[in-house]
């Protein structure tokens, strides 16, 4: 139980820091809002029609780019001596799991917000809300799992801030491709039977990434 307790403390610490320095959360929220509005303006000025499939692509692009905002900062904050202190008092596996949960929660905020804003500016083409929600949750888990370890790696590699997207983009494409297939099902309300193989594949891909982060992080951080 001590591990779970430690995990709870670590995650709530991150959330508290986030809440006290409201400027960080506010930045991310404004990022999502202004990204959605900019896209709306671009489409409006170009007189482009937005059909559900285009809406879907825009939505996942906003989620993807805001996920780099969410994930990018968190390990840079921890690189100081404070993090070494944690290593002495908790298992290093717990650190990555706590970061993963924290990223998952923050990504949930950004993606539901992106859904809201895009529905306000454009329309809401989602017919099967439940299935789309499942797609969002699996995508948040996949993005968190894929990018958390990469952000730790790029934090370790130093000040090069574009290393995270460069390493992250190709690794996140498989998750995105399955998510898009799943969410297209949700848009057209094709039903759960057709979506089930995609859900299963996506969930197992997420599991692989979470498990590997858990196994590999101690090697990365202890050296």
């Amino acid at each position: 139980m001590t591990s779970l307790h430690h995990l709870y403390i670590l995650v709530s610490k991150d959330l508290k820091v986030e809440f006290r320095q409201r400027i960080l959360t506010a930045t991310i929220l404004l990022f999502v809002a202004s990204a959605c509005f900019t896209i709306y303006q671009v489409f409006f000025a170009g007189k482009a029609r937005v059909n559900p499939l285009v809406w879907n692509a825009i939505f996942w692009m906003v989620v993807l780019f805001s996920s780099f905002q969410v994930v990018g900062k968190s390990f840079a904050k921890e690189l100081d001596k404070q993090f070494w202190y944690y290593l002495f008092i908790v298992k290093s596996e717990l650190l990555i799991v706590s970061k993963l949960i924290y990223h998952f929660l923050m990504l949930n905020v950004t993606s539901w917000l992106a859904w809201f804003f895009l529905s306000v500016f454009f329309t809401n083409p989602v017919q099967d809300v439940g299935l789309f929600a499942v797609a969002i949750e699996l995508a948040c888990l996949g993005l968190a799992a894929g990018l958390t370890l990469i952000s730790a790696i790029s934090a370790k590699a130093g000040k090069n801030s574009s290393l995270l997207p460069v390493l992250g983009f190709p690794l996140i494409i498989p998750t995105l491709l399955f998510v898009i297939k799943l969410s297209v099902n949700a848009l057209d309300s094709l039903g759960w039977d057709l979506a089930l193989p995609h859900i299963a594949t996506l969930a197992s891909l997420d599991c692989i990434m979470v498990a590997l982060s858990f196994i590999l992080f101690p090697y990365l951080w202890r050296g």
Binding site: G146, L149, I150, I153, K156, A157, G158, N160, L163, V166, L167, F169, P170, L171, I173, P174, L177, F178, K181, P197, H198, T201, L205, I208, M209, L212, S213, L216, F217, Y219, L220, G223
Partner: protein, 222 residues
């Protein structure tokens, strides 16, 4: 000079046989494909070779994390170097083949896309190694990245195409051609080609490793 290892003695006749039979051997006359079917002996083995080389690299990355022996890391990095060369050659031969048979250099085929993503992943690996200065950091951090990336690459190459229609033979009900059924006499060249090219890749990798170790020793001993 040390004597050649036994598997290198196998590689030489295999490659002579493959290149000769690849250019001069009998191939089936098929519509659209025509003589490009010979690319089977050169394009497809590049992919086999690349996957085996990246697999070897991941194996040595795991060994490095387990033992901390820097020699394992030199091996892992060298196999990535030659794996990338195989990947690029595979892409180029594939694009050329695609232009003649499917009509476009880039046909948005899932396997083509997956291999482009694979190349991006391993260019990222080189970039990551380049941005670290200490040998130990370089070895440890790039090993972690390489294992993580390979585990994501495998479902990308082997699972995703099964959900999508592919222009490649044997996917998505695409009749195309099936070299295994249509031309039994292509098989005796194709299998040696896969083995021969893979062994060639490991041979070049072996040379890179020996070169890197010599440079490393020279630097360490002044």
């Amino acid at each position: 000079m040390p004597p050649l290892k036994w598997w290198k003695w196998i590689t030489i006749p295999l490659m002579v046989y493959v290149v000769y039979m690849g250019l001069m051997g009998k191939v089936p006359r098929l519509p659209i494909l025509n003589e490009t079917v010979r690319n089977l002996y050169f394009h497809v083995p590049m992919w086999f070779g690349m996957i085996f080389l990246f697999g070897a690299s991941v194996w040595f990355s795991i060994q490095y994390l387990r033992t901390g022996n820097i020699e394992h890391d030199v091996k892992a990095a060298s196999y990535v170097d030659i794996g990338i060369v195989f990947g690029i050659l595979g892409l180029l031969t594939g694009m050329l083949w695609a232009k003649f048979t499917w009509g476009e250099y880039w046909s948005n085929d899932p396997k083509q896309n997956a291999s482009a993503i694979g190349m991006m992943i391993y260019f990222g690996y080189l970039l990551l190694r380049g941005s670290l200065s200490s040998d130990r950091d370089k070895a440890r951090i790039s090993s972690v990245y390489s294992i993580f990336a390979f585990a994501i690459l495998i479902p990308l190459i082997y699972v995703l195409p099964r959900f999508t229609d592919s222009l490649h033979p044997g996917n998505g009900g695409n009749p195309g051609f099936n070299p295994y059924d249509q031309a039994r006499y292509m098989r005796p060249v194709f299998y040696p080609a896969v083995l021969g090219w893979t062994l060639t890749g490991f041979w070049i990798g072996d040379l890179i490793i020996r070169y890197k170790l010599i440079v490393k020793n020279r630097i360490e001993n002044g």
